[in-house]
């Protein structure tokens, strides 16, 4: 029997229903604009689907497609307005059975910080079974088992406030597991986590599913979706695609139309076929790698020393001067001169940043990577003058940031967007919020207006449509762009971005990165912290690697990502293309180093298919 069954389920949020009935009766200008939160279509529009016991279903779709609404119907957080949902054979509209259903279908959400009820890990995990009135002896065992399943036993008595995002999210999953549900529903569990945190969640979910748990995973990350047995693509409240990951993801054109991403493995397969390498369409990375290695055996030279890489030119590298001698022709914009920052906490003195020196030149695009707690956020705050170094100096155009006069003029020099900048929006209208900075800078009324308009146009926010709206009625992606417009309206010459794409869907990520690139090309310098090594590899001219408060590498992406082993030891990843190349190389494919992009990797693999040219033979390939 199906564990979950949807029969032509429809659901519209109240504001939508109102908007819809209004739109038929009133002229167009009275209805809210499209694309803002009241969607022009119901959140769920006649969905029918069946999920069997033990399945692992990934639900993907752009923001606002209705995938979260779908998930909330499974455990009766929402009840269908049309049609019927049966969970474990129970009709979810039966109010008597609500708790029964929720005890069988547990759900964890996006933001671990908003889900926990107490400040001790074990107590929080116990919350669900406590509510189910589980007897004490079993309760204790359940908490232990659940913490063991997510590998957090050692943290049972800790305060979640001191854990990393990934650890917190694992606690939240343990809290659901302790209820011993038959179905585990995860609503974007990785959205606020770094790559390492997401990897941990992925591993746990896979193990749980193998042990027989039915898993329903809502996600924006295609690498999470490919590990499912079945992928459902939701678009405007309907199921647009459904099938195995390979079946769904091979419909690349359709995915792009739906504003979704195509997983790297399929993109690589496509690129390879374009280059005449015969490979099949496979969504699971391991299978693709197996196929690529299958017919090659281990014929190749395994010394692994590559003396010459023909692909270096394919990476976006700009000429740079070797450290430490500064470039004479390019004056440095921002210089960190042996900067340390120490603060005291209840655990004693903490060196957040230790003796960091580097210099950023005009027009650089600096990517900063580092594990959680490596000092990234302290470094950014030192960079924009919010913190002053305990020792050492931060120089902006040769002037010390400690100087009061310099600090006063920082407004037009340095702009910084912290993580989730939309959480700082406050004004009654979008235009007012964006004008906050320029007004504080003392610009004239006309100038402010002009700044607002140009910032909005850069951020692809139509002035006529958005200026008078409240920022709080926009979608998450739009709020993010409004917040960034508020920073860019000050026209900083140095723009600092901390995880600018966190939590966005694939289309939102792509769009925002394009905007950032566009602003960067307007003769500005950009510093971006990101967990996405792919984005860093693609955009950055230089990469700064932080580890325990120290700057361990500061070099071109090619040079930095060549140190895969060292980066992995720091719990950092390398670009997807580079990690594919590593694994293929380990399997015997003699690929050169420094393959950071999809195209470079495809080129390199394709070139192996051709007989080696005399020059390559001479170079030991």
């Amino acid at each position: 029997m199906a564990i979950v069954q949807f029969d032509t389920v429809s659901y519209g949020y109240r504001s939508q229903v109102a908007a819809q009935s209004q739109s038929s009766a009133l002229p167009q200008q009275d209805t809210p604009p499209l694309d803002t939160s009241p969607l022009p279509h119901p959140a769920l529009d006649g969905i029918s689907l069946t999920i069997e016991r033990g399945e692992f279903v990934a639900v993907i779709g752009a923001n606002g497609s209705g995938k979260s609404t779908l998930a909330k119907h499974i455990n009766a957080l929402l009840v269908p307005q049309g049609g019927r949902v049966l969970t474990m054979g129970i009709d979810t509209s039966d109010e008597q059975m609500t708790f029964e259903i929720r005890s069988h279908a547990g759900m964890a959400f996006q933001n671990p910080d908003s889900q926990m009820v107490t400040s001790i890990v074990a107590d929080d995990v116990a919350f669900g079974p406590e509510n189910l009135a589980v007897p004490h002896a079993e309760l204790v065992k359940r908490v232990d088992d659940a913490l063991d399943a997510v590998k957090m036993t050692a943290f049972a008595q800790r305060n979640p406030a001191h854990l990393s995002g990934g650890q917190k999210q694992r606690i939240c999953i343990a809290g659901v597991l302790a209820m011993q549900p038959d179905i585990l529903i995860l609503d974007e569990p990785g959205a606020m986590l770094d790559a390492r945190g997401r990897r941990g969640i992925r591993r746990i979910v896979r193990e749980l599913n193998k042990a027989g748990m039915t898993v329903i995973l809502i996600t924006h990350f295609m690498e999470e979706a490919v590990i499912a047995n079945r992928v459902l693509v939701i678009d405007r409240g309907r199921i647009a695609l459904s099938g195995s990951p390979t079946e769904v993801f091979s419909q690349k054109q359709r995915l792009r139309e739906l504003a979704l991403e195509v997983p790297f493995s399929l993109l690589l397969a496509e690129e390879l076929r374009n280059r005449g390498v015969p490979v099949s369409e496979i969504a699971r990375p391991e299978e693709l790698k197996k196929e690529l290695l299958a017919d090659r055996g281990t014929v190749q030279d395994r010394r692994g020393t590559v003396l010459f890489s023909p692909f270096q030119g394919l990476n976006r590298t700009v000429p740079f001067c070797p450290e430490p001698s500064p470039c004479p022709q390019q004056p440095s914009t921002l210089v960190f001169d042996q900067v340390s920052y120490t603060y005291s906490s209840h655990e004693g003195k903490v060196d957040a940043v230790r003796n960091v020196s580097f210099s950023i030149e005009d027009g650089d695009f600096i990517g900063i990577i580092g594990h959680t707690g490596s000092g990234k956020s302290t470094l950014l705050q030192l960079m924009c003058g919010l913190m002053t170094p305990s020792s050492g100096r931060v120089l902006l155009n040769d002037k010390d940031l400690r100087d009061k006069v310099v600090r006063r003029n920082l407004l037009s020099e340095i702009g910084i967007a912290f993580q989730y900048p939309e959480y700082q929006l406050f004004a009654p209208t979008v235009a007012d919020d964006i004008a906050f900075g320029p007004r504080n800078a003392g610009l004239s009324h006309e100038d402010v207006d002009q700044r607002v308009r140009s910032a909005m146009s850069l951020l692809r926010l139509d002035y006529e449509r958005y200026a008078r709206l409240s920022p709080f009625e926009l979608s998450g992606g739009e709020m993010r762009r409004v917040a960034l417009a508020g920073i860019i309206a000050l026209r900083p010459r140095l723009l600092i971005l901390d995880e600018p794409t966190a939590g966005l869907d694939p289309a939102g990520r792509r769009e925002l990165l394009a905007i950032i690139e566009e602003y960067h090309q307007q003769k500005t310098t950009t510093v971006m912290v990101s967990h996405s090594m792919d984005d860093i590899a693609r955009l950055a001219t230089k990469v700064l690697v932080l580890k325990d408060g120290e700057a361990v590498y500061f070099d071109t992406p090619t040079a930095v990502f060549a140190r895969a082993r060292e980066l992995r030891a720091m719990n950092l990843g390398i670009p997807t293309a580079a990690s594919y190349a590593d694994e293929l190389r380990a399997g015997g494919l003699p690929l050169p180093e420094g393959l950071l992009t999809l195209e470079a990797l495809a080129d390199a693999i394709a070139s192996l298919q051709q007989p080696p040219t005399p020059s390559e033979v001479r170079h030991g390939l």
Binding site: S103, V117, I120, V176, S345, G437, L490
Partner: protein, 264 residues
């Protein structure tokens, strides 16, 4: 991290004082308060002080930590000290210099009052040093339970305290971020008259409210998903159980109280 009230003063180690049932410890606090106010001799205070010092030794809290925890309260000690010292005019004059007049009664009262307050603060500090806020919260709920029949929502109160303890650091963190973000957009908080200063805080308060509503909404959903339905029909992970040591501690404190009442 600077605002970690969930740990507060709690000194996380293992000792007999830590292992005492939190209800016992709360009761001991009240007994000690009553005892401190009942006694009116220095000998009485000395007995209490000796008991507290023993408790401190048993608690494995370094004396330095305990002193540090007391330090912020020193104003409340010094103020009555000076008040008594300078403004009591009964008794024999010990020192008279200009408007300053110190009498023996004043000196005695000042000393006695200050010692009394010091012991009170010390008792409360000792409690928070060896009891986690969560345990205190459990104890509150348990001790309010008998009043449930009178309509006191004992369980809900402890749930509220627990959630508050859990979210205050999160919200303070949020607020810190918002303030920094607005600062980099040119907001100035420390200039101008009072009206301007209040106005300057608006761009920080609005996002903070928005953020707390967001948290509240998500928390409500998560709690519902985990079958929360109020305090009825629910089991507890922490079962507060009295051990023999709780009996010993209670008997001891009762004895002290009786001694105070009749002899000191």
């Amino acid at each position: 991290m600077a605002f970690d009230i969930t740990i507060g003063q709690f000194h996380n180690t293992d000792s007999i004082m830590h292992r005492l049932d939190p209800r016992t410890k709360v009761t001991l606090l009240f007994v000690m308060i009553v005892a401190v106010f009942l006694t009116d001799t220095f000998l009485g205070l000395a007995v209490i002080a000796a008991l507290l010092l023993t408790a401190l030794l048993l608690s494995a809290v370094p004396p330095k930590t305990a002193l540090k925890a007391l330090a912020p309260l020193s104003f409340f000690l010094l103020f009555p000290l000076f008040l008594n010292l300078f403004f009591v005019s009964d008794g024999d004059t010990l020192l008279s210099w200009g408007p300053i007049l110190i009498t023996d009664v004043g000196l005695y009262q000042a000393g006695f009052m200050t010692l009394r307050l010091l012991l009170l603060f010390f008792t409360a500090t000792l409690l928070t040093l060896c009891t986690s806020p969560i345990a205190l919260c459990d104890a509150t709920a348990a001790m309010l339970r008998p009043f449930r029949r009178l309509g006191v929502p004992a369980y809900e109160i402890s749930m509220m305290i627990s959630i508050a303890l859990r979210f205050i650091p999160t919200l303070l963190d949020d607020f810190d971020h918002i303030v920094k973000a607005q600062k980099t957009r040119g907001a100035v908080f420390d200039r101008g008259g009072p009206i301007r200063r209040v106005k300057a805080i608006v761009p920080c308060l609005v996002p903070l409210f928005a953020q707390s509503f967001r948290h509240a909404e998500e928390l409500a959903m998560a709690m519902e998903s985990r079958c929360y339905h109020g305090g009825e029909n629910r089991t507890h992970y922490h079962i507060l159980r009295f051990a023999p040591r709780d009996g010993v501690a209670s008997a001891l404190s009762l004895a002290v109280l009786i001694v105070m009442l009749f002899w000191l």
